[in-house]
Structure formats: structure tokens, C-alpha cells
Symmetry: C2
């Protein structure tokens, strides 16, 4: 298991980035179908998915939301962050076995309230697949 | 497994609603931690979680996004929908074993482009836990 980190709000700077990669393997897609109860065969049945405009199995869009959340929660600001909001625009469908890199960039910091705004992007082979904005409350440095 | 439905864009009406309930069981939370790779102990370790302001284990916020997605994908507009965007504001943390009802309401329909806007809410014991807006492309009735 990967080590989590915490960046206290006092140590965050505008433009700070963090990234982490995930793979949309068969096991991950099937587990996400089970846990979300979204059993659309476009995600799990290659024969069906081949007949759709996507021409093959795709990951659930919401899986990108789960990975963005994990990247925030373990990486930036990391352990102790409280999720306030997330927006996400889907641009392209993630295919089976694609590796997705989630990139976070700090775009605003309110040191009084510890509210931090992050741009959140998902890329595959350096192409934009989804983007959005997250707002979190970052942990404060213990007094 | 629950039966999926499709509501074609021609049959959608403003104000149309759909809801579906999910439970944040221990098995679901652990599976979501694995699939998202978010192993924050606030979700999985009761002894640790009891020491936090939440005073016990909570579900990942992104799990609500997964359930909203599933409710759209299988219910309204249902099978064949294409996810364009989702926003989500988190209001309260879902606790272990809470049952969450996802409610969708159609708020706008563009019949030319088949773009449909939905209000998306997550409630526990009839209290608002998260809300947001989804945009999807609904399937068109076959000619």
C-alpha cells in the first residue's frame, strides 16, 4: 500500500502539483461495477461493448471521480483533508487497461478558513480525458 | 441484479424523478477503498475513526458519485445515457451502515442535442447529505 502524506494549509502554495496513476484493469472495472451497483454491460461485456460507438469496454466515468478523490486524500493536501465539492466534465471514455494519470494543481488558498481549490485533470497518454475543480478543507499545522 | 431501463429523450419531461437506495455497508466501503486505492483509515479503521471529528467510520464522498452515476445509468435516462458532467457538494458525511437514497429530477431537456440536465441529491433519513447537477446525453428513440 502506498504511503499517504499531509501538506498543511500553511505549507501549500499556488501552482503546487501532485499526480498519481491508476489502471482501469478488468478487476478494477468489475469491482467498481459491483460496489457502485452499475452493471451496464458496456463496462463488463466485451461482445456487447464492441457493438456500441465506443467499440469496446470502457471504465465507469465515476471511477475517475474515485481516483481524483484518492489522489487528494492521500497526496494533496493529503490525509486529513475534508472534501467540500467536486465538478467533473467527461471528455473521452477510458478504455479497458488504459492507465490514467490524475493531476492536481492548487489554484486558490484561503488560509483563514483553510479552504483550498484544486484543478483536477485525468489524462491518458497525455490526452485530456476529464477535468474539473475540487474544493477541500486542508488540515492545519498542529499548534 | 436490478433491471435497467431506458427513457428516450422524446419521453422525458421536466420534473420527472427517479430514486434508488444504497447502503454504505462494511463490505461496500472496503471494496471502494480497494478499487479507488483510497485507504484512509477514517473509512476502514473504527478505532482510528473514533478519534476524528466524525467519531466513527465514514464512507468515501466519491462513493456518492458512484451511486449517482449508477442511478442515472440504470434508471434515468437509463441504459444508453452518456455522462457529460457531474458536480457534487458534500454537506454531511455518510456513516457506516447508513442507507443513502439518490434522487434525480429532470430540470432541462434539449431535444435537438438530447442533452438533459438533472438535479442529483443524496439523502439519509430524509436529510440532505450531498447535492449537485448532472448533464447527460439521453438515448434517442430508434427511428
Amino acid at each position: 500500500m502506498r504511503e499517504a502524506q499531509t501538506v498543511f494549509v500553511e505549507d501549500l502554495v499556488i501552482g503546487q502539483t501532485y499526480e498519481r496513476s491508476f489502471t482501469a484493469s478488468d478487476a478494477v472495472i468489475r469491482a467498481f461495477a459491483d460496489v457502485s451497483e452499475d452493471h451496464n454491460p458496456i463496462h463488463t461485456d466485451e461482445a456487447f461493448a464492441a457493438t456500441t460507438p465506443f467499440r469496446g469496454r470502457i471504465a465507469h466515468g465515476a471511477l475517475l471521480g474515485a481516483w481524483i478523490s484518492a489522489t487528494i486524500a492521500d497526496g494533496l493536501p493529503g490525509r486529513g483533508s475534508i472534501y467540500v465539492s467536486q465538478s467533473l466534465m467527461f471528455k473521452r471514455a477510458v478504455k479497458l487497461d488504459d492507465t490514467v494519470t490524475i493531476g492536481l494543481t492548487v489554484t486558490a488558498i484561503d488560509t483563514k478558513t483553510a479552504h483550498v481549490t484544486l484543478s483536477t485533470v485525468a489524462k491518458v497518454r497525455n490526452k485530456l480525458y476529464a477535468d474539473g475543480v475540487a474544493e477541500v478543507i486542508a488540515p492545519k499545522r498542529p499548534a
